[in-house]
Symmetry: C2
Subunit: 442 residues, 2 copies
């Protein structure tokens, strides 16, 4: 039984049996297993805070059990109400077994304030830092994000797919690909499931999603980038424009936020975080790229900042503050991106603009998406304009040649969304085992 | 609206409105979008079978629309009952638009019998072969397997994790690892999330699962192997022995089978397949490795086969037939594997045997699992017996040094389970974009 079930059920039972200040009389006995989070020896009485997957509870012992912090123990005892204990209750222990004694030279202070630990120490000691309740909360929330992402899309008739992460050619953006020695040839780690999710739409599944790793061999080290990240990918057929995708993403984010609020209130509280409600999401504006640059420029001018020519990270922050002030939502969508900023397969709006969009949330781009070119001849025609050769796109051309519906999709960066929900400064903190230019351990 | 919703709702409505043999009078109009699956020109009347993500429906036109197979069309029409049409209904079309015309040189016959197409043709033309309803059904079932796997484990308080697929060292089984050029160093594609899922158990999540790619650089090309596969991984803390894991897997498989039967009756029918019911799963026996070798040997002798010394693929088939005959279940568990067949971190039962198991289903091993060594000193002691050096296991040693509970887990090969559910001979057919020694396209 977990701590939270004990607190929810057996303590209530104990309170009924014993009265609100009642000491245990043996009426209820519980067994708990977990980690020694804190030890306080008051002389005569010893308090231990026990931690399991569900939370923390105070144990009361009448003699020193000679334990080290982080040891794994099993205890039997009777619950009792105690307004001064965390959670309002404690367990009076009459039986304790040490299952796995932790060495005394703990290299990371699990029960400390994680905000006071540097990022490198947190990541170097990942197995231990993840035991800190506030750090663990990041990944409880992330699991909810992934679960809600999947559940919402299934409710909209989307099918989950699992596509290969090894691709045979490097025609698109070769410089940002990691090379894999694959028997007697070279292949590459997929930057995104783009071609595969489009293939699945055209194969007749029409609506597909995938939550899987994606790889970018980018050399820069910023609080926004990971070389391996979880891409929450969506693709659907029979859309008219990117506006259909923006509507889908609004519904999807609303559900993700609602589920996070419903399931992870304790985790949000640890980060002093709150998610936008459905109302706020529905108010989120969509502005064109051109408008967005103007808005960001005006915001920058107000604060005495420099001119804005592009949707830079700084502009993303300005746009979110503007949206929050004007619409009560720090989520917004920027569409109609110029041709030059989008991949060749992006569907044109006109000669210079595309049917594509970004989603910005709390100052950070969390999504890129758009309608794709589905017409065989138009695709062939656009390749030379990007300096590309048809012979390197035979898979794409086969996809489009035999009946491909209008379609489009988007990808949400899972670590970025998680970090924005909780207010985490560096996206690496929202990756269990982050990979950057220097880090491949643990 | 999808075909199946039309058939379920509007046709019933049409039947009410129009009588069972009623021709449409315009009372109900539907719009459908999909692919031209089949065309039959009867002179005067043209029948088209339209395919969308949900199924097939017959369209009736009074003139030849000049379409090619696999073109994407949009139609408006009125549904009517017709006992001779597939699904018992048809759509009398009064408006048809061709959205994306397919070229006439279709290299794969989508509406043919997929059983008559060779595996290479199916995989070379993956984008087209996936349009075949029977082939598509494989991945509808696979999506259910993954969904049910996740849902069941969440119901048992497991948390979904996403771990890195890039590992910095090759200490465990280096010869079967794919090497990745990672900036100025070499890293490897993870063979399994073994270390990471153990880390997450010890980090206090206690119960975790992951559905993600895993990589084996094995050179052999068999109907049982993929170089990239989807590993359905489970790990849990506070177990006594591998028997706890076998019980968990029985519950998990029962739920996966129930959900497949409930959601994918049409897909199972296309493959003439059925899943075991809860009763059959509960009857599945667990036999020790030693017993299993004897049983397989006796079965082999009965059929005039050779002697059996080991759980070979042939022995797996014998064991499943035996289990089906004796227990009415072609699922069984083999536990107590000898030390020499298991990784060094497997928990010992005694000097020669381990607390580990395989699950065999319909003649194929679908799972390997076991309890892991959680004791720091015992782990240190076992390394030299396997010719391994402690200095190469610093991450593992840190994991065990600071309070690691008894734990264990298992992994189900997703493509293997899918193929056994449907009776697919080669596991490559149960991978959307399979990778083998020669294939990295499409």
């Amino acid at each position: 039984m977990s701590i939270m079930r004990i607190l929810a059920k057996d303590v209530a039972q104990a309170a009924q049996d014993l009265g609100t200040d009642g000491m245990s009389g043996g009426a209820v006995e519980v067994e708990l297993k977990g980690w020694v989070h804190r030890i306080r020896d008051m002389g005569g009485v010893v308090f231990i805070v026990l931690r399991d997957r569900s939370g923390l509870v105070q144990l009361v012992l009448d003699k020193d059990p000679d334990l080290t912090l982080e040891s794994v123990i099993s205890v039997k005892g009777t619950p009792a109400l105690n307004g001064k204990a965390p959670g309002g209750a404690e367990i009076r222990v009459h039986d304790l077994e040490c299952i796995a004694r932790a060495a005394g030279d703990l290299p990371y202070q699990v029960n400390g304030d994680s905000a006071k630990t540097g990022l490198e120490a947190i990541l170097d000691n990942r197995g231990l830092s993840l035991r800190n309740p506030k750090i663990k909360a990041v990944f409880t929330v992330q699991a909810t994000v992934i679960e809600a992402f999947s559940a919402y899309l299934r409710s909209q008739d989307f099918t989950e797919i699992k596509t290969s992460k090894l691709v045979g050619n490097s025609t698109e953006g070769g410089s940002e690909l990691f090379e894999v020695a694959y028997f007697d040839r070279k292949v590459y780690l997929a930057q995104s499931p783009q071609f595969y999710k489009e293939t699945m739409v055209a194969s007749g599944m029409e609506r597909v999603f995938e939550a899987a790793p994606a790889y970018r061999a980018e050399k820069h080290d910023t609080p926004r980038h990971l070389n391996e990240y979880i891409s929450l990918d969506v693709e659907m057929g029979f859309i008219d424009s990117e506006r259909d995708l923006i509507e889908l993403e609004k519904g999807l984010l609303t559900y993700i936020f609602e589920e996070t609020a419903r399931k992870n209130a304790a985790e949000l509280a640890l980060w002093s975080a709150a998610v936008p409600n459905a109302d706020a999401v529905s108010r989120s504006p969509t502005v064109s790229y051109e408008e967005a640059v103007k808005i960001a420029g005006a915001e920058s001018a107000k604060t005495g900042g420099g001119r804005i020519f592009d949707i830079t990270p700084e502009a993303e922050r300005f746009l979110c503050s503007w949206s929050l002030r004007e619409y009560g939502s720090d989520l917004l969508f920027v569409n109609e991106f110029p041709r030059r900023y989008r991949p060749f397969y992006t569907y044109p709006l006109d000669a210079s603009r595309t049917m594509s969009f970004d989603a910005l949330f709390r100052g950070l781009e969390i999504t890129t998406g758009g309608k794709r070119q589905h017409d065989y001849q138009a695709f062939l025609d656009v390749l030379p304009k990007f300096g590309l050769k048809a012979e390197n796109f035979t898979n794409y051309l086969t996809l489009l040649k035999y009946g491909c519906p209008p379609h489009g999709g988007f990808a949400i960066g899972c670590e970025r969304l998680t970090s924005r929900i909780l207010g985490i400064a560096n996206v690496k903190e929202a990756s269990l085992f982050p990979r950057d230019r220097k880090r491949v351990e643990p």
